[in-house]
């Protein structure tokens, strides 16, 4: 047995991962075009500014994903005997905290604007030689800003589930929900046009709440993962019954009297310890290795399970 073994993604999953990476590159590309378009339409609308910052922030998860993908696949080394799978969680944690802080700052900005009773002024804007009310240009930019993320988000969600990628899932969910913040900004600007000066700051507050929600859920998730919580489904967050399945499979062998597993997630792979009570006269080293192989074969995410013979298992 190898002390530092390399995790190999199954063939079919490798194809999905490649697709996910391509989609993340497309996400970054579209978000760049969106932030540029929005920047030029940016006026004195608080909602528009908040939506713009939100779009800039939504570039973080795909970047984190791509960077972490680059490092997490590296084989274990002498210095990092457990491999590099946790790069993902660590970078995700940092990104989530950053999003949370910016969200709070944006909420402060929106509330301050509301309390000051600032009336947003929207001038004419020159568009290819034509002069139009800048509100219309902002709305057009906002409509453009919600379409690519919505489509990409929907394409990435099933991939995240199949690949057991929580960063990808959080990213896809944020993209998919982006239309609500874009829509809120559109309503804010339409509200300005109706003479409702508060509509703009109210929309900004709504958007910042959505940023805070993203930051909070993702921070919580990253913390739970770093605390070695039991493995959960990447999409639904429901516990996976892998420990139970390992136990049941091992109990199916006549020489296994009792078995129990303790599992944790390392990014997109799941590893841990399996304890067995053996009743055999044969040499156990070879037997244990076979049992470990059998247990690992239950699910593609299982990797580097340690198997340990014990006298009895207390519960």
């Amino acid at each position: 047995m190898k002390v530092r073994c390399q995790y190999e993604l199954p063939q079919d999953k490798q194809k999905l991962l490649k697709k996910a990476k391509t989609l993340e590159w497309w996400t970054i590309f579209f978000l760049l075009t969106i932030t540029v378009v929005m920047y030029f339409a940016l006026g004195s609308s608080q909602a528009m500014k908040t939506a713009w910052i939100e779009d800039v922030l939504s570039m973080i998860p795909p970047i984190v994903f791509l960077i972490a993908m680059h490092f997490s696949g590296k084989p274990p080394t002498e210095q990092f005997p457990y491999g590099h799978h946790r790069t993902m969680m660590l970078s995700f944690m940092v990104a989530a905290v950053a999003v949370l802080v910016v969200g709070l700052y944006l909420l402060y900005g929106a509330i301050a604007t509301l309390l000051k009773g600032h009336h947003p002024t929207l001038n004419h804007i020159s568009l290819f030689g034509w002069y139009v009310w800048s509100g219309w240009v902002m709305i057009a930019a906002l409509i453009y800003s919600v379409i690519p993320p919505f489509i990409l988000g929907r394409m990435k969600l099933p991939l995240a589930k199949d690949l057991h990628e929580k960063t990808l899932h959080a990213d896809a969910a944020m993209n998919k929900a982006d239309w609500m913040t874009g829509g809120a900004a559109v309503l804010g600007i339409l509200g300005i046009g109706l003479g409702w000066w508060w509509a703009d700051a109210a929309a900004a507050a709504f958007i910042s709440l959505s940023v805070i929600k993203d930051g909070f859920t993702n921070t919580k998730r990253a913390m739970v993962d770093l605390m070695d919580s039991r493995p959960t489904d990447a999409a639904s967050d429901k516990p996976l019954d892998l420990a139970q399945r390992i136990r049941e499979k091992l109990l199916g062998f006549p020489d296994v009297e009792d078995a129990a597993a303790r599992l944790r997630e390392d990014g997109h792979v799941i590893s841990g310890e399996v304890f067995v009570v053996l009743n055999t006269d044969k040499p156990i080293a070879a037997r244990l290795e076979t049992l470990a192989e059998q247990a690992t074969a239950i699910d593609w995410r299982l990797y580097s399970l340690t198997i340990m013979p014990v006298e009895s298992i207390e519960r």
Binding site: W133, A184, W197
Partner: protein, 169 residues
């Protein structure tokens, strides 16, 4: 999902608002344009800054922006109540809705832009008139006038005639 209900509510509210106010868009939160048309008088603060605003010792007003305002008032069909004075007093009064426009060769980089709004620059990409923040219907009307009526050549000719330095505050 409460968010979905909120969105639906907001959309409905907006549609009713749009239908109710479709005769003019955007609108003024403080009804500046309606007020000007109703009272038939445009309140204009004038801050001396030749050649844009010239105030003679006998309190007569002339200058490029004064003439522009006269044309704008003619277009609206209203008379003008001039308030010659300092930038500070006039811009503060503008913020309190006691003026409709303040002229004085202002540039859009003016530090007062946190408190009042400036029209789209109508000359040299920097010269603008000050209006009250958020009065978007009135602003649209003024900007449309400036964009349609300001002939840059005319302003350049005036500037050469007065041979004054293009000043700004």
């Amino acid at each position: 999902m409460p968010i979905r209900h909120l969105t639906t509510l907001a959309v409905l509210l907006l549609l009713t608002g749009l239908l109710a106010g479709c005769e003019r868009y955007p609108q003024d939160p403080h009804h500046t344009l309606d007020n000007v048309l109703q009272r038939g008088v445009l309140y204009v603060g004038a801050v001396e800054n030749p050649p844009w605003v010239i105030i003679t010792p006998d309190k007569k007003l002339s200058g490029i922006e004064v003439e522009l305002i006269r044309d704008f008032a003619k277009e609206l069909g209203v008379t003008i109540q001039w308030y010659p004075g300092s930038a500070q007093n006039n811009l503060f009064a503008l913020k309190e809705y006691k003026r409709d426009i303040v002229v004085g060769g202002f540039k859009t980089t003016n530090p007062w832009k946190k408190h009042v709004a400036f029209s789209i620059p109508y000359y040299n990409e920097q010269h603008a008139m000050a209006v009250t923040s958020g009065e978007n219907a009135f602003l649209m009307q003024l900007e449309a006038f400036l964009l349609n009526n300001v002939e840059k050549t005319a302003i350049k000719r005036r500037l050469r005639q007065t041979s004054a330095k293009v000043g700004g505050k």
